[in-house]
Symmetry: C4
Subunit: 262 residues, 4 copies
């Protein structure tokens, strides 16, 4: 498969992932949304099924959609190391496009929310998805774009992201269906999607489960760029954790796989 | 397969889709329903599993159940263009039958709801699924039949419908299981159904996700025809958006598929 | 396969179906249950996954678990008519064993509930699953055993049961996996289970979706027999509806299949 | 397969099972978790999908993850009796590692919770998952590690655990996919995971569904060992029930299988 084929497929697939994943955060956050306040079960299924949709759509390129998966597969030997930057590029671009499409899809809701005096008064840096301690840093809709910790502590937040990503990548590598870089197949996509639902339910509590560098970084860049009124800060101080943690987790998972299961 | 086989299969399958889809809206809306107030997770799963049931039942004809899917498959080359009107006809008729069966299934609930002074007093054109701004237009049970926007703005509502439909049709086209017009197979049906759950959770917030012209239009016609007391208007001013948006989205998805994945 | 093999398999499978199905009703009804008040989504998934568990376990005999399915398959030609009574017998016995096991599993909860003065005072014939109008008939735990209507009206309740059962049986018949009486296979079991979740979410509102004669009748008999304090009536006046309705629905579905899809 | 391969695979798989399973209990228990109070549907899906993740990851060794499953398979003849202790060892060690990782993942949340005066004052031996009657025995976070009864009664609690485990093991044995000790395959993993969701929804109410000796014992040991402030007792008086009950249930299921389905 050519590099451009990989790039295009990963871009579109990751855009869908973030469109649906960011979408469900928007859906439960905004008062003028039919899914307002639908709860964490909605969030966890929303993100998991976002993986499902993205995985089908990017099946051509193996549907990594996540640099941590790309790293894990490269260590396992499922793809060439020379392809890694191509995957990374598509994944990052796609994540930004996805975040942009969330904004388009919820355009009126963003505006109503960010100009609602009640929201602004109540907002002290938290939007329900971001910790109080982040008050001066996180704007009232940042949680729709990026993750943030409930209790801000770098080592601990990093540990949570590493552990959660190990589970994700280990599950993907053990499907035994992705060796040829062609993704995990329709059934495998479903299984991975449901594992993501499970990770969200179980390990999403402390940090909102980035478990994917571009899932957090791409939308955060878009948050910084978009002309949103009263959007507040993009919390760049936290931004390295959901990038570095998942990369470490993906590499550890690749190592565990080689040692224990290969 | 003969045109009449296609027509009958799509009619029955789409009737089941709308029966279960409209059914879950009725189930959560009516006080005298065991699922009263069951929330958006119930709605999203209800509609997704409605797709599942309809897809099995109409497997013979490929289970399009949706003109946007028919359009996307025609562009991809999965069916003959000459069959398109047959699919459209079965889909529209089926959607009307389905809406009618919702009314039969919840007959007593409709009557109790629409003659309840408390409901009528509280209703100002919104039934919990329809925007305040729609007050003079949408009756208190229209949300069980058709979609309506939370924030009424034609361009934006259209954009949301287009984006959500692109995700749906792109996922269906990429399953790679539907080339021969025989539908997506049992596993494919499940995957599509779950993508629909995901779209509902993530992109259903602003407009209630029509993503299917007949899903909205057929039941709206039935709403206009049924002898319901105090039913209010059918909000025809909005009716073109969930028809035109999904058709555009399906066509765009067909184009993206041809360019990026074929 | 011998009649005794069919009988044993259907008995065990239907016992599991009712054990898990009645179990989830108990789980959400009792205050001293960890799932107290878990809502309709829990009920719908609980019953659907009860079908899943029963279907695996009774795969040997085709996992009908439901006389309406047996009727539909007999009309389609999937089983011999002479086997029908064997299936019916196993299904009815299994449903009674299942209801008995619910009582064992929640023994302390039943006793605490039925001797709680607060529960008894509040109970006026309704247990949250049964209509007010049924007050003099339905005891405070009958909803854990059998179904009951929200609005009591024989014709309408019958219509809802018929319609919901048609959807169920039509989906099963169209899986195209059950022709040889060997059940629907592992994937088919999952699909049927999810259709049952969907029917529960969408059409369970008015009557609590019997859609299976023995699902209602067997546990109602057990309710009548069990030595429960203050258990109240078994609402025999309603009992014929979830028996007759599903049988009619199964037969209609078999007919539709023969005409439209065979 | 060598004993060390089995041991390593079961250890890692069971660690993932308990990490995600204990994780969801932590996620809904702690105020400073994004999934706080997400309800029993979240718990049931969290545990079921924990099985899914563990099952993929330990597919190499058949992914028992549960001594009750090991017993049932040994009786059925799926594995050698000489391998049973190897499975048991890996399962117990894995469950302890998993519980430890829950603590790491929610480190700050544990500390905040256990030093919150409001939590400590409100806690009278119950943590929302453990019965009032257990007050002097169960600490405020024990429910994140181990199960506990809503109504404490040895015979009854044992009966519930036996019944629930019979359903689990009977479903696994009847998948017909696990004869060769290689686990249930990707689709089988999904089916078993969903059966576990169903058991949780339906039979989890009275005892919190141990249905797996190490799922309860391993984390309880870790609870006893961890340096948690104000952690309270580990309720050792109850500890034998979720060990003995599931072992009996697994053996009974193996026997039923041999008699009725083999």
């Amino acid at each position: 498969m050519s590099s451009s084929d990989i790039f295009i497929s990963e871009t579109i697939g990751t855009a869908v992932l973030i469109l649906l994943g960011g979408g469900v955060c928007a859906a439960v956050t905004f008062k003028r949304s039919k899914a307002y306040n639908a709860g964490w079960v909605a969030i966890a299924f929303g993100w998991g099924l976002a993986v499902l949709a993205g995985a089908y759509i990017a099946a051509k390129s193996g549907a990594h959609l996540n640099p941590a998966v790309t790293i894990g597969l490269a260590i396992k030997g499922g793809i060439e190391w020379s392809q890694v930057p191509v995957y990374f590029g598509g994944e990052l671009l796609g994540s930004m496009i996805g975040a942009f499409l969330v904004w388009i899809s919820y355009y009126g809701q963003f505006r109503a929310h960010l100009t609602d005096p009640e929201v602004l008064a109540a907002h002290n840096g938290t939007d329900g998805l971001v910790d109080q301690a982040a008050a001066p840093k996180a704007g009232p809709v940042l949680g729709i774009f990026s993750t943030g910790p409930e209790i801000r502590h770098a080592v601990q937040n990093l540990a949570t992201e590493i552990i959660a990503t190990i589970v994700l990548v280990l599950a993907i590598l053990n499907l035994g269906l992705s060796d040829n870089g062609k993704g995990v197949g329709p059934l495998g996509s479903l299984l991975v999607a449901l594992v993501v639902v499970g990770i969200g339910l179980s390990l999403g509590g402390p940090t909102g489960y980035g478990i994917n560098p571009v899932r957090d970084l791409g939308p955060r860049i878009v948050h910084a760029l978009l002309p949103l009124p009263n959007k507040g800060g993009s919390d760049w101080g936290y931004a390295w954790i959901p990038v570095v943690g998942p990369l470490i987790g993906g590499a550890i998972a690749g190592g565990i796989y080689q040692v224990a299961f290969a």
